[in-house]
């Protein structure tokens, strides 16, 4: 099969546009979850918080003010067809240029520091965190998922034992959510990666938040997602951590084969502003 040439400028423009779009308008899946959640809440402060968040989404869209001031560190997933040949420059530079233009032209906050200890702001929100996957075909799927750190800071990786089984997975998720409490701006979206290695589990959990579904085993995941969601919502943390029934909007689990000795569980926590959007080029 012939190679398909794609200019990296096209990828750069897509990244720019997606960074801007998703910081002003949440994807439909998250908006629907928030609407549904509001119907279930009974606590007075909880209802008030959920109403405020819905009103906030309207103001953000109509008046072009970012949904949250933490417009995130740009996480970019590139699923690249193996028949693609990038031309016109470096793909990594193109993605970062897209982030730079998106955050500059889109009036988004520059939240990235050059070094974790010295902490000088890079001034343009670069570099992005880029995950590349090679897939079949001749297309490129670009997913942009800016991640805020109020919730990122509450995320965890647990190296459970095989003997811990399903209960161990559940315990890991509930522990992370309980510890996060009000810090992660509940209602939260919870992404979980089970299996692989230490870093693979973390990546799976991030993909789960971004709506990228792992092709591996799902025989027990749907049921566990619902079960854990109910338990999280019985914790009483509630919207804003101010008490109520709605602590999480969703739990999404991705799996991957793992080692005979291990059961890695990564829990990536996001607030309701779980931003992800994609373009296929």
């Amino acid at each position: 099969m012939a190679l398909r040439e794609i200019s990296v400028k096209e990828i750069s423009d897509a990244v720019r546009d997606l960074c801007i779009k998703i910081n002003y308008e949440l994807s439909d899946d998250m908006q629907d979850l928030l609407k549904e959640a509001a119907k279930k809440e009974t606590s007075e402060l909880g209802c008030k918080v959920l109403e405020t968040l819905q009103e906030n989404l309207v103001v953000a869209r109509e008046e072009q003010i970012p949904i949250c001031q933490d417009t995130g560190m740009a996480v970019v997933f590139l699923e690249v067809g193996q028949d693609v040949h990038f031309v016109d420059g470096s793909i990594e530079e193109a993605v970062n240029d897209g982030v730079r233009r998106g955050y500059g032209e889109g009036f988004l906050r520059k939240s990235v520091v050059e070094d974790p200890i010295e902490r000088t702001n890079t001034g343009d929100n670069t570099p992005a965190v880029i995950h590349y996957t090679i897939v079949s075909g001749d297309k490129v799927k670009v997913t942009v998922s800016p991640k805020g750190f109020g919730s990122e800071n509450m995320s965890r990786v647990f190296m459970k034992k095989p003997a811990d089984g399903m209960e161990g997975v559940k315990d890991a998720i509930l522990t992370a959510v309980r510890d996060a409490g009000p810090n992660a701006c509940p209602p939260m979206a919870v992404g979980v990666g089970v299996g692989g290695t230490f870093e693979k589990a973390a990546e799976l959990s991030k993909e789960a938040l971004a709506g990228i579904v792992s092709p591996y085993n799902r025989s027990w995941t749907d049921e566990l997602e619902q079960e854990v969601l109910s338990e999280i919502n019985a914790s009483g943390i509630g919207p804003g951590g101010l008490g109520g029934k709605v602590t999480a909007l969703s739990v999404n689990i991705n799996t991957y084969p793992t080692h005979i000795a291990g059961l890695p569980v990564a829990v990536n926590i996001c607030c309701h502003v779980n931003r992800h959007c994609r373009a296929v080029i």
């Binding site: 906030n56 949250c68 001031q69 933490d70 009036f107 988004l108 702001n121 008490g243």
Partner: protein, 178 residues
């Protein structure tokens, strides 16, 4: 209980605040977060003068997105206050009365709230667009080189917050999950 109060708060205002109260604040406050706290704290440690007056002050833990033309500020919701725990007791001991943020505080901070007759409010996390509409002016006071983390003075009108820690030792977050 719902209250409408003007900044700076009086001793009596603070005395009467209780966890769970929904309060609308009007007046001036400072905006500062991690990097600015670190610098101010280091000045305090060295016994040097601060570029802002902490006496009876209110500090909103926040780093806004850039303002569009004709607007005072961009999106402007609270950041996690927990990260300021290392610095907050010293700030409260130096006269600060009000903290606005979101998230849990350490025992040291909760003790400093009671000791200094102060208050910790939460604003709704993730509602930055809506909260920005209560901000009528914003100017950088110092540390402009920190970008989004510069210290600002903002004016707010009817800015909505909830009492999470009051001067009587109440803790709203702890109450919810007991």
């Amino acid at each position: 209980m719902e209250k409408h109060l003007t900044l700076p708060l009086s001793e009596n205002d603070i005395e009467e605040l209780q966890i769970g109260d929904f309060v609308y604040l009007t007046g001036e406050m400072f905006v500062a977060r991690d990097a600015a706290h670190k610098r101010l704290y280091e000045l305090m440690q060295q016994g040097k003068a601060l570029p802002i007056d902490l006496k009876d002050s209110c500090i909103y833990y926040m780093g806004p997105s850039p303002a569009r033309e004709g607007r005072p500020i961009g999106s402007a919701g609270p950041t996690t206050a927990t990260r300021m725990d290392k610095y907050a007791p010293a700030f409260l001991d130096a006269g600060q009365k009000i903290m606005i943020g979101k998230g849990k505080r350490s025992k040291e901070v909760m003790d400093a709230v009671v000791r200094n007759h102060a208050v910790y409010f939460a604003a709704v996390g993730g509602a930055g667009a809506l909260l920005s509409k209560c901000i009528t002016s914003s100017e950088i006071v110092c540390y402009e080189d920190l970008g989004a983390e510069a210290v600002r003075r903002i004016s707010v009108e009817e800015f909505p917050v909830i009492v999470v820690a009051d001067c009587h030792g109440g803790d709203l977050y702890a109450r919810q999950t007991q």
